[in-house]
Structures are given as C-alpha cells and as structure tokens.
Amino acid sequence: MSLWGWLLLACLVTYAIKLAGYLVPARWLENERMSRVAGTLTIGLLASLTAMNTFSGGPALAFDARLGALLAAGLALWLRAPFLLVVIVGALAAALLRLAGVG
C-alpha cells in the first residue's frame, strides 16, 4: 500500500478509536487499568520516537548534530520554554552544529 494509503487508513483508525470512547458503556470507565495503559503507552511511545529520531542512521546508530538538538531542547524545556521555542532551539542547535562541521 502506498504512503497515502497508510496515511488515510491511519486517519480512519484514529477517528474510529476516538469514536469508540463515546460508544462503549460507561461501566468500562471503571476499569482504571485501561486508562493506565493508555497513559504508559503514550509515555513509552513518545520516548521511543524521541530516541528513534535522534539516533537513526540506516541500520546502524548515528551520533550527530541531532544529539546536540536533543540536549539543547532538554535545556530549553528545563528552563520552561514554550513548545514552539523548544522546537526552534532544536533546529538552531542542529543547524549551528552542522555549520561548525559536526555531524
């Protein structure tokens, strides 16, 4: 299936998941485990995506300017910068590192 195909399928499924919440009996809400799994899934996936986007390099791991972006973004977040600024900081860090010849 083409990328468009997967994209549209993903949109369909994410909508179906949202709608499902409105259609299931209220009784299911009492199952705190479901809520908990949804929460841990979110944390785990976001951490995994961060790692993957920092270190991906063909099959092997790569250590390059993106690592600098990660550290700079971490600092910006720790200093309570808003989301958009954090993203810009990440881009700046990677671009400047590349200008300086790193990764």
Binding site: L7, K18, A38
Partner: protein, 235 residues
C-alpha cells in the same frame, strides 16, 4: 480559556507543518493529517516513523497506538457531556488532549460543555491553518538538514514527552522504552523498535500500580489544569 489553548496549540501546528514537509510528505499529505487525523501525538508519530526510515505500516501502528488515549477521553467526555446524534460524531473528531483537559478542568456542566467545544473547535481551526502555513514555509526552505529541521523533530518529541515526566516512575518508563528502541534499532526493520517499545509500555501499564491519569497530560497546559482534581503525585 478555550481561546488561549487554541492559540498555543495552533502555534505548534506550524512545527508540525514544517516537519511534515521536511520528513518527505507533500503539503497535501501534511495538511490531510491535520484535517483528518487531528491528534498531535499521532500525527507527529506518523511523520516521525517515516522520517526515521520506518515503513508506512509501522507509521500506521505507532499513530494508532498513540491515539488510544483519545478513547479514554471519549469515555470521560461522553459521561460528562452526553452528546447525541451528529454532535457525537463531531465531538469525537475534536476529542484530543486539550479539549478533554479543558472540559475536565471545569466543575459546572455548562462550563465543561463550553470549554470542550471552544477548545476543540478553536484548536481545530488554528491547528489546521498553522499546519498549512508551516507546510508552505517548510517547502520553501529546501534542504531540511541545513536548517536543522531533523533536530527540530527531535526537540518536538522531547517537548511532547516532557510534561509527562513529572515523577520518577514515568521517567523510568521513558528511559526503558528509549533504551529498548535504541538497542533494537540496529537489529530489526525500521519502525519495529517503536512497536517493541509500545509493547513494553503496555505491559508496564497493565502489570504495575500507579496513577490512572499518568501520561494523559495535555501537550499544552491549559490555564488551571495544574489546580484541577487530577494533579500528579510525588513518588
């Protein structure tokens, strides 16, 4: 209150638009994601897996899994607002972290309803407008690496993760899942490490004890969320 959420969340739509295009998606595909999927985490996951070299199927899987929490919000909002008919179909589309959190931050049912719809619809309009703007901007920028846009993607994911790292346990979970990902990456096809990490995270949630609302924080803090009932615990 819905308005400030809408503006704050809409603005980070610019980064999604730009990153979508930088990851190799067309402007149309990027805009379609914001219109049809309309879930920040899932959208970033979809483009992020492809940007990291994963397949369309892995991107689909990651996006779907990150969308599971919207079902939980749907359950909560259904009990709170009880939308019926076409309103329920529309409510589902705008069920995201921000609209759910805005509603949950109110005590009065009328305020909950107003908060949900204003935040949901406001974010929808602005998120999509800013996605388009970001996508057109990204398209005009040329080589994404030169502008550090791959670094921007890393920063975006860390930014989405950060509000959820309020105690030791979520930090431990995040570290474990990041490690699983990095250790698996050289050995398995692209995109599979993400699904392995998801499995670890799901098992962790199923078998461990902890707060039921951990991880379900919104990407952008609405005013007053910190003060509402579901505040994080100290471990």
């Amino acid at each position: 209150m819905g308005l400030s959420i809408a503006v704050a969340t809409g603005l980070y739509g610019v980064s999604f638009g730009a990153l979508g295009v930088a990851s190799g998606f067309s402007v149309e595909q990027t805009v379609a994601l914001s219109l049809l999927m309309f879930t920040g985490g899932s959208q970033f996951a979809f483009i992020g897996v492809v940007a990291g070299g994963g397949t369309g199927s892995a991107a689909f899987g990651a996006a779907a899994l990150l969308g599971v929490r919207n079902a939980v919000y749907g359950m909560q909002l259904n009990r709170m607002l009880k939308p019926r008919g076409w309103r329920r179909l529309l409510a589902a589309q705008i069920t995201i972290d921000e609209s759910a959190a805005t509603a949950a931050g109110q005590l009065d049912p009328d305020e909950q309803r107003r908060g949900f719809w204003s935040a949901g619809l406001g974010v929808f309009v602005l998120w999509n407008l800013f996605t388009l703007a970001g996508a057109l901007l990204g398209d005009a920028l040329g080589d994404p690496r030169r502008w550090g846009l791959d670094g921007a993607a890393v920063a975006a994911f860390l930014g989405l993760l950060w509000p959820r790292l309020r105690a030791r346990e979520p930090v431990a979970l995040a570290v474990v899942c990041a490690l699983v990902t990095v250790l698996a990456m050289p050995w398995v096809p692209p995109g599979v490490p993400i699904l392995l990490a998801a499995l670890v995270a799901a098992l962790w949630g199923w078998f461990s004890r902890g707060p039921a609302d951990e991880g379900l924080e919104p990407d952008v803090d609405p005013v007053g969320y910190e003060a509402s009932a579901s505040s994080p615990e100290q471990h």
